[in-house]
């Protein structure tokens, strides 16, 4: 069965560097002494710790619970004692520490009681809650909580399910190796997804540079009792991006600012599918994953790693070499540099790429943009990167948004092809963050302005009301005085009337003053009353003392 494939615009063909790591068998990384488990390993709210320092935890025990709908749980990857809960350095682009739970492992690797779920008998909502409690999140890189994505929403059905085995980033082979060795379990995961989403069309997209994975997946798909189509797609970066995979397989585009489910398509990474199968058929939470360690190491390969394992452990296992110039999490196109190697492997860690000056030479100095539009030719989002760059540089963020800055997927194709070596993606990230910051500021300012305007309005209104009240009162007084028969002359009675008015006004002012006096001292408890009296007494004494020297000076 051949399927008509569509193409997406742009894309690049960087050297693949897959062969370095995809031929060695999966190596199970040893249990580390210490596991550092960040509470924020997924998109959405960070997990809430449910253990305390000093607690003994078992392998697979929930140590952080999902906090809200878009969140997922965190589990102990091995048994041991919780030694710390607090900020630690995590693999994040900011390099800032984040809340983590640290476990000193006891080497026994003792599992908590767990068992398979009868997913077909379960209510879908219950099953999703269970998956959330098993810590499932997308392993393709975005780590979006899977339970949320497995909810077909109001339509109750998501017709097309795409399993993404594209893995288009150079160097990374963890999905390739996973498909070669665990094809059956991946397809079992697909069955569970199909059950939850009610999908009728199931497509597994794999780039044509993974023939072994394609063969394994085709064999596994043939063994299933429902139709699964393994589709071979051309290898082009970023063909493994969800939006690009959707376009290649279906010819559809996800409308700007919407989700793929809005057009009836859901996409999962093969790693997530595998983790789902492990969760449902074995009751295992997401506590390990495959990680490619490649680049400037002696034995590039894939490891099965417990989440929380320090990256250094893996680099040492793969054989670190002299001349390392840094380490990336992810691939060379979208990866993020690591602050140090003590950071743990997290759910998002698909690759640890060790850099050297030969493999990743420093970029030449940037020259001005010559508007050659190679970036526009390479852009899979069909943007005009040269214009976005111009606007970002000029801090013209409004125009940048008009030119669809937020449709940029930051794939890096533009920077890759730029003959002037301009770090274009950096400029877009900068512009995006500036816009977010300004929107936040603007919201705060709008609120402040609204409050201020309302205060002014209220004060105006009160002033007007007061003036009207006063005028009415004065009128009434005058009428009263006029009615009372005046004994003296007209002039005198006028003066009297004025005096009376002044007296009345004074009385009112007095009353107001009394009213305006602080009322904090009303209705006090006897204790507080006593305290206040004591304070008053002390203050009186101080006042007394303060007056004395003056008096003494006055009378020498």
């Amino acid at each position: 069965m051949t399927r008509e494939l569509h193409t997406f615009k742009g894309g690049v063909h960087p050297p693949e560097h897959k062969a370095e790591s995809n031929s060695r068998p999966i190596h199970v990384a040893p249990l580390p002494r210490k596991l550092v488990l960040p509470l924020r390993q997924h998109l959405g709210n960070p997990a809430k710790p449910v253990v305390g320092v000093g607690d003994r935890v078992l392998k697979g025990q929930m140590i952080g619970e999902a906090n809200g709908y878009i969140s997922t749980a965190v589990h102990a990857s091995s048994s041991g004692i919780v030694s710390a809960i607090g900020p630690a350095v995590v693999p994040h682009i900011s390099g800032l520490p984040d809340d983590c739970i640290t476990i000193e492992t006891d080497g026994r690797d003792e599992w908590i009681a767990h068992g398979p779920l009868d997913y077909q008998a379960m209510e879908p909502a219950d099953l999703r809650m269970k998956l959330r409690d098993l810590g499932l999140a997308g392993l393709g890189g975005a780590v979006f909580p899977s339970a949320v994505k497995l909810d077909p929403g109001a339509s109750h059905v998501c017709p097309t399910l795409i399993i993404n085995g594209g893995e288009c980033e150079p160097w990374i082979t963890c999905d390739d190796v996973l498909m070669r060795h665990h094809a059956d379990e991946i397809v079992q995961g697909v069955a569970i997804m199909r059950h939850l989403l009610g999908s009728t069309e199931i497509l597994i997209g794999i780039e044509d540079n993974k023939p072994e994975a394609i063969a394994a997946m085709q064999a596994a798909a043939a063994r299933m009792d429902f139709a699964v189509e393994v589709v071979v797609v051309p290898a082009i970066y970023p063909g493994g991006g969800a939006k690009q995979m959707i376009q290649t397989l279906t010819g559809k585009e996800v409308p700007s600012g919407k989700l793929s489910t809005d057009i009836g398509i859901q996409v999962f990474n093969v790693g997530t599918t595998y983790a789902l199968a492990r969760a449902v058929h074995h009751g295992e939470p997401l506590i390990s994953r495959l990680v490619t360690v490649s680049g400037h190491v002696l034995r590039p390969q894939n490891f099965e790693v417990l989440i929380g394992t320090p990256m250094q452990t893996l680099v040492t296992l793969a054989g670190d070499r002299d001349g390392t110039t840094g380490v990336l999490m992810g691939g060379p196109m979208m990866g993020i540099p690591m602050p140090d190697l003590e950071v743990p492997v997290v759910k998002a860690t698909n690759c640890i790429l060790v850099k050297s000056a030969e493999l990743f030479p420093a970029p030449p100095k940037a020259l001005p943009c010559i508007r050659c539009t190679r970036c526009a030719d390479a852009c899979p989002a069909k943007l005009q990167p040269q214009e976005l760059y111009r606007f970002a540089r000029a801090a013209d963020f409004g125009r940048a948004q008009e030119y669809h800055l937020f449709d940029c997927i930051e794939c890096g194709c533009c920077s890759y092809v730029c003959p002037s070596h301009i770090p274009l993606v950096d400029f877009y990230r900068y512009a995006k963050s500036e816009i977010w910051a300004r929107e936040k500021d603007k919201r705060a300012a709008d609120l402040a302005r609204e409050r201020h305007e309302f205060r002014q309005f209220r004060q105006e209104r009160e002033k007007k009301e007061k003036a009207e009240k006063l005028a009415a009162k004065a009128q009434a007084k005058r009428a009263e005085l006029a009615v009372a028969p005046a004994e003296g002359t007209g002039a005198q009675s006028d003066a009297d009337a004025k005096k009376a008015l002044i007296a009345a006004a004074l009385a009112r002012a007095q009353a107001k003053k009394a009213e305006a006096a602080p009322k904090n001292t009303d209705n006090l408890s006897p204790d507080t009353q006593r305290e206040i009296e004591e304070i008053e007494a002390r203050r009186a004494k101080i006042r007394e003392l303060a007056r004395k020297p003056l008096e003494s000076e006055e009378k020498p």
Binding site: M333, M334, P337, F360, P419
Partner: protein, 345 residues
Amino acid sequence: MPAPFILDRSSVTQVMAWVLAALLPGIAVYVWLFGPGILITLSLATVTALAAEAAMLKTRGYPLKPFLSDLSAIVTAWLLALSLPTLAPWWLIVTGTLFAIVVAKHLYGGLGQNIFNPAMVGYAVLIVSFPVQMTQWAGPLELTGTSLTLAQSAMVIFGGDVPRATLDAVTMATPLDALRTGLLQQFTVDEIMTQPIFGRYGGTGFEWLAFSFWIGGLILWSRRIIDWRTPMAFLLGVWLTAGFLHFFDAGRFGPPWFHFFAPSVALCAFFIATDPVSGATTPRGKLVFGFGAGLLTIIIRTWGGFPDGVAFAILLMNLSVPLIDAWTQPRVYGGADRRGKEPPA
């Protein structure tokens, strides 16, 4: 340094080097057909451009090495040199090049910032200021039977004492000038075109020069240095406009193939209109830019005060680029198109 951590092996230098390389067939044919004088013009323009570039970089506080080695100044120099008359005096070459580099390029902010094509600014300044000196074209060897040697050419260019007869023997009116003069003298196009300077399609010899620029253009296109849209739209604009006029009155307007196979049109189509800095950037914008330049070229040639219209056409279109780009923004992935239609789903 954030992602991406790998780069394609392209560079501005490489782009410019390809442009220079693609001009080589044209230069070779030029020498073969019109004598070696052009080599002096090219060298003089190159030296002047590099000196002006270095001086401006130094004045503006920019590093010399990265900007001199980007070869962009040499591209400007060569394009201007190829546009100038073969035996133009040295000071004309120097003035034009200086104006191109100093004013049109650096006073506008240097590489990537110039609104106007520097070579065309240089050319326009010269043709407006020194129209007489801009006519000293060598005739094709095929017609003159002799050409100046390198030394003789140098003598002419640097104002040496060259006998008038020697010079008259090798200079000729260009086909474009011949057509223009003939039309002014109330001859019909057919009558004018019986002159030997008119060849099979364009001018005798000149048409071969045009073909050699076409070859250079194909090289650039095959290397994806230039996009097909601008040259194709430009050539279409020239052909359709000239064709329309010729169809309308064949006696008063030159045939479209005559314009189409002129070296100036070929050079403009593949090397000048395709200048990325001063040209349109969107796909549809490139079509508009190219077509507009082609249309204006013929209009200026036909009704303008100067023999050729390419430079003014390009400069006028350069002016319109911000507008063209703004009006021709393509639909983005997942975005609605111009008519507000949602993406294919």
